[in-house]
């Protein structure tokens, strides 16, 4: 029983981090219905940003997530204005190929600038706490991951309030729902799309800054997370912030519990099986609307 409980707790801790990785995609893909295959590369840039600020200026990733987030917001807006706004008018395939091109551009630029070496952060607040844990009902909660999870949860709640409870958020949702109608009430769709791209890039980069405490930093690191992020957004329901959170927790727990009882090869198979299962029962995802 303790084994199962421990697996659930481990899964929940990872789930919160997955949620933060996926939520940027929820905004760009789920809410604005634009495909972004370079999402994982934004995460990678966030990780490299945190690593670079740490080794160059000694900034802890928990501090550098602010400049990293701001820089990536600007990059997200720039990418929308210079690339995605143009391809948005075309076929969805144009968007797919544009963002795949962006993926290779960003990944290979990182290889050129940083080389493909694996980089590690070791002297940060969270890495110094590694190994410390809280015990509750015989279950161990790793303190660094717990802090990471709480940070992710806090950011998530802030985003939820921004999207669901502010005029700006409502304008964003209105643009996603009906661009022409939104224009009639004075909303500038291009502005909203640019902000959505900025927010999406900033959020996943912030996730990257937090993850740099736990994972090796290298140019290809984004891929493993991108695949999970797509499954999470689809599972949670396109455009649903809370759905994304719940789906990420489900994915974390499914991965963790599956591996305790079955060969680890089933880990991701069960994640996608749960997506198929929920897709059969609720094609719009857990919290999605048609």
């Amino acid at each position: 029983m303790t084994l199962l409980l421990q697996a659930v707790v481990n899964g929940l801790e990872m789930g919160f981090l997955y949620a933060l990785v996926a939520v940027g995609l929820t905004i760009i893909w789920g809410l604005m219905e634009m495909i972004n295959f370079a999402h994982g590369e934004f995460l990678m840039l966030g990780m490299f940003g945190a690593w670079w600020l740490s080794v160059t200026f000694g900034l802890d990733p928990l501090v550098s997530l602010v400049p990293v987030g701001l820089a990536m917001y600007a990059l997200g807006v720039l990418i929308y204005q210079q690339l995605m706004r143009r391809v948005q008018r075309g076929d969805p395939f144009t968007q797919i190929f544009a963002t795949i091109g962006l993926l290779f551009l960003l990944q290979n630029s990182a290889v050129a600038v940083f080389t493909s070496d694996y980089r590690y952060l070791s002297n940060t607040v969270l890495t110094r706490l590694s190994g410390s844990s809280l015990r509750l009902l015989g279950v161990s909660l790793g303190v660094p991951l717990l802090i990471g999870a709480l940070l992710a949860l806090g950011l998530f709640l802030a985003l939820y309030l921004l999207i669901d409870r502010t005029e700006f958020g409502l304008a964003l949702q209105a643009t996603a729902e009906d661009r022409e109608a939104a224009m009639l009430v004075g909303i500038r769709p291009q502005h909203m799309f640019a902000v959505a791209w900025g927010l999406g890039a900033a959020l996943v980069a912030v996730a990257g800054a937090i993850l740099s405490n736990f994972f090796a930093v290298f140019p290809q690191v984004g891929l493993s997370f991108t695949v999970l992020a797509y499954a999470i957004v689809a599972l949670g329901g396109f455009g649903s912030i809370l759905g994304t959170l719940l789906a990420a927790l489900v994915v974390g727990v499914v991965q963790s519990v599956t591996t305790v009882y079955l060969p680890p090869a089933f880990k991701d198979a069960f994640v996608f099986a749960s997506y198929i299962l929920i897709g059969l029962l609720r094609p719009q995802g857990l919290f999605g609307r048609f």
């Binding site: 694996y118 070791s122 161990s140």
Partner: protein
Amino acid sequence: MRRVPVVLSAVACLLFAAVLASRIAPAADVQEVLIGELLPLTGNFASLGQQYLWAGQTVEDIVNNDYPDLAVPLGPGKGFPGLGGATMKLVVRDDQSRGDLARTLAEQLITVNKVHWLNGEGTSGNTSIIQPVVEGFGIPMSCHPCASPTLTEKGLQWFWRTGPNDKTMVASVFAFLREWRERGGPSDLKTIALFTCDNLFCQDNRKIAAELAPKSGFEVVLDLTTKTGATTLASEVQRLQAAKPDVLFLVQYPPETSIFQGDAKRAGWMPKVIATSNGAYSDQTWLEAQKKTNGGAGWLGRDPTAIDLVHDRPSWKKVNEIYKKYSRGQNMGELAMREITGMLWMADTINRAKSVEPAALAKAAGETNMGPEQLIIDYKGVRFDKTHQNELASGVVTQVGWDGEKHTIWPWDLARRANFKVLYPSPGWQERDSKPKPAN
């Protein structure tokens, strides 16, 4: 109209003659020996590919420039003396760590770029994909750091490997564990868990370890294969912890190894011995990072050379200086040493062949008999068996000490020279945290 067949026949004869002439061109006509370097410079295995590229550039530099005091093949003098001073030119292609692309690029290197030798791909999986292509065209090919035994067990005519394979190297680890027990080491090491990733390299290691473990007196209590690119290994660590193995045989790439370390630390779990084979243990950046955390202290693994003793060799130091010109100041790791050793053998073979004709190159390769004094690595020499595997390539076992460096602990004669006391049991996480860190 009757002239057309005559003209066509004449053109065909001319083309045939040109092709024939190009294949049997005298050695003096070769200005450049073209070496196809097919490497994973981007994608999942890019960190390996870049080390191999630096190694290739180092060998190109050694061959083309005069290093009078460098006691390695083609160190003194410029170019290939056997080919009238022809220079070596690398034709580098990046396959993005993808087997399908590697196959296409191998074809292009042979048919379009007309390389005389193909070196690559650096990973066993992708090398096995391009082997049939190269075999079909009939030009020499080599992959020296590739360790999968299957690469030389297919009866291929055109493939050579100077580096040791996983059978040799994993066997070294188990020989150490077995003999250690007999030489007064711990007698309570009875169980082992295998913890490996899911690609050809890891699975080859797993199979060999699974075969050797019982023969070395170990009961395999858990055999876990994980997905390459995992984002968490917490549940796997839970299972390992529950299985309570005395020895953990871990074969994982650096990102997964660091995830494992984080999850094992969180769970407070440490087996008595962590034994590894290549993967993170061969990655210089992983090793350097461990110096900041003591994370690698006590880890033991196989290496193709006694890296702590090899530094004393003058040729190693000189080659390392050349390597650093290309590697942004990074020292040669053991992967780079394997690649440089292999490519210097290739250059020596081309020089001895006095030709770039495939048959002549194959003959010269088969006649190789290099002594250890020409090498920058601790092989007993280079001499090929009938499968084109270097039968003199050997393995050693090293352990990371509290100084963050690798120290040779097997074979025993080299271990005596290294004079290092084996760290046992593997230090717990608290001890790692409390001890001074070499990099701080």
